[in-house]
Amino acid sequence: MKKNTKNRSLITVVIVAIILIGTIGYTAEQREEITMLENWVGGILTPIQSVISSGTSFVGNLANPIVNYSKVVRESERLNEEVSDLRDQLIKARLTRDELEELRSLKYALNYVEEEAKYNTKAVKIVGKSPSNWFDTFTIDAGKNHGLSVDNIVISSNGLVGTIYEVGDTWAKVVSIIDSSSAISFQILRNNDFKGVVSGSIDHELSGYLFDPSAEVIVGDKLITSELGKHPKGILIGEVTEVGYTADRLLRTIEVEPSVNFRRLNTVLVIIPNN
């Protein structure tokens, strides 16, 4: 009798394990719709997580300046320098803008058709991040009911953050650009002839290559999204920190420091295409 129950529990575990392996295979491809159960579980858990992460980040924001006092001072010095630098650039930009406005009025005179705005944005809160050290995904507190859909782009004020992978009614799952499953086509801000692809990794580092092996790329170059991928053009991705060649010297490889600090991210913007 005792032996019998022992076997039965082993058999149950084996059957469940086989079903689970089947589920992995079945859901390995990206799905259009998630199941009711997932939608429901996410719908219940995300509001609770939302409250707790708001509380945590509130306390964190209070404590951070006290704990990192010297860091804050250094940061403010750096920002002051940046402000004066940006002021210079602003003056130059104003001059260019005047010129642009003149040219635009000329365009009206010539009866050009004006392009409509293609995107809407929605600010959402991050409610929780993946507990795994392997994947870099997080959930946000808006979903289908707020107009979000699969493959929408997520950005923050500093640059590109990720892509929506699955949506529930009131929540959505975002895969960040440093996750190993992400790949983005980019161009170099300084010279948009140089294009390539960067992808994330298990170590949460961005690296990639340029299509043109003779491309002049230097450390410090800024990368923005190119129009080749599914991203809108011109979103900042990060800065090149290392340049090299592949072993066969056919491709230029680069290491990239993302412009977004993924550890300290609370609010993000979702770009919703208009149509």
Binding site: L20, T27, G128, K129, N133, Y165, S181, I202, D203
Partner: protein
């Protein structure tokens, strides 16, 4: 043991892991409290309950933070079942039992991760097991498990697990 309390522990741990624990990362590594709890509870639960506990714990992580369903459920299911199967051979008063078991479980967890991702054609890296990152995870989990095990052991002594 009360099903309600055990479910509550699973959910609270999950919420804790995805929000507060993110701030406690050391060298870029977050401890895996779900794994520690599965190991510690499985030592005191019978096989069926331990397997169910592991399954539900993994399911939550699968649903909210995985690209596909089933990987974490499978890992924790097997982990719960196996640890529970050996539990009657183990002297439970020794706190370092959790240290050793959690360390071994973390290695198992990472190996399963690599294997499943490889089998289903995801990008993976078999060298990951030899990285420093893996070592940090093992050490972090193992040390934290001592604290959690001490508490679980106390619950056990108060007849918490009698059902």
């Amino acid at each position: 043991m009360n099903v309600f309390i055990i479910s509550l522990i699973i959910i609270l741990n999950f919420i804790f892991q995805s929000t507060l624990l993110q701030y406690l990362s050391i060298m870029g590594v977050i401890p895996n409290t779900a794994l520690i709890l599965v190991v510690c509870f499985s030592l005191f639960l019978d096989k069926n309950k331990a397997a169910t506990y592991g399954f539900v714990t993994g399911m939550l992580q699968d649903i909210l933070y995985s690209g596909f369903l089933g990987m974490y459920s499978l890992i924790y299911l097997i982990l719960g079942y196996v640890v529970s199967s050996f539990s009657y051979k183990i002297f439970k008063e020794n706190i370092f039992i959790s240290f050793t078991l959690t360390g071994m479980s973390t290695i198992f967890y990472i190996l399963m991760n690599i294997t499943i991702l490889y089998l289903f054609g995801f990008e993976t890296d078999s060298g990951y097991i030899f990285r420093m990152n893996t070592l940090y995870q093992i050490i972090y989990n193992a040390i934290l498990s001592i604290l959690i095990y001490m508490y679980v052991l106390r619950l056990y002594k108060r007849k918490f697990f009698n059902y």
